[in-house]
């Protein structure tokens, strides 16, 4: 790896620690296919809404996700401008597609609640 583009080890360790959580790693994999609002995540994980918000907050603080308000909802997406974007894409490629989970969500009518 070129020195110019190499990442700082300490900061990278911090990002990997964030991704080293089942919930956050799954969130990132979901975000790889499309943006998601908090209520969708809350429906996808057996976990309280504050827990979801706190996970998103940590990833936002690290600059790896970004938020966009759309009316009542706040949508999260991967931040393509993060210096970790390439690394994250590389590692997410090793993980199974999570599209099925959205299908289930839609079947439950929970997907639409945020559109």
């Amino acid at each position: 790896m070129n020195v110019d583009t190499a990442l700082d080890i300490q900061k990278t360790a911090h990002v990997l620690k964030l991704l080293g959580d089942k919930t956050r790693l799954t969130m990132m994999k979901l975000l790889q296919s499309h943006d998601c609002c908090v209520c969708e995540f809350t429906a996808l994980f057996a976990m309280s809404q504050p827990a979801i918000s706190q996970h998103l907050r940590k990833m936002k603080d690290a600059g790896i996700v970004q938020e966009t308000r759309r009316g009542q909802w706040i949508f999260y997406s991967m931040n393509p401008d993060s210096e970790y974007a390439a690394l994250i894409e590389d590692l997410l490629q090793h993980l199974p597609d999570q599209h099925e989970r959205f299908v289930e969500l839609e079947a439950q009518g929970l997907r639409i609640s945020c559109e």
Copy 2:
């Protein structure tokens, strides 16, 4: 990613959590270039020998490193047979080369102590 080769998210999160520590991540980057014994790591990090052993133990338990005894010393290396080997190689490529640290070690005469 092909379903056949995709990794389990939960287990991957565990591996990423292990790499989400500055010391362990640096260790893996060092191991990417060559094997290392405990005493070399101990010289490289401002940290006690038990701390080093405990970090290595965790990575060995996860199957991402392996140990080989060579007489008095135990050398650690990346485990190429781990199902996470490819993922780990991918992410280590984003990190700066650590060769310089071995040069310093050698200059201090600490490198030879394990050969």
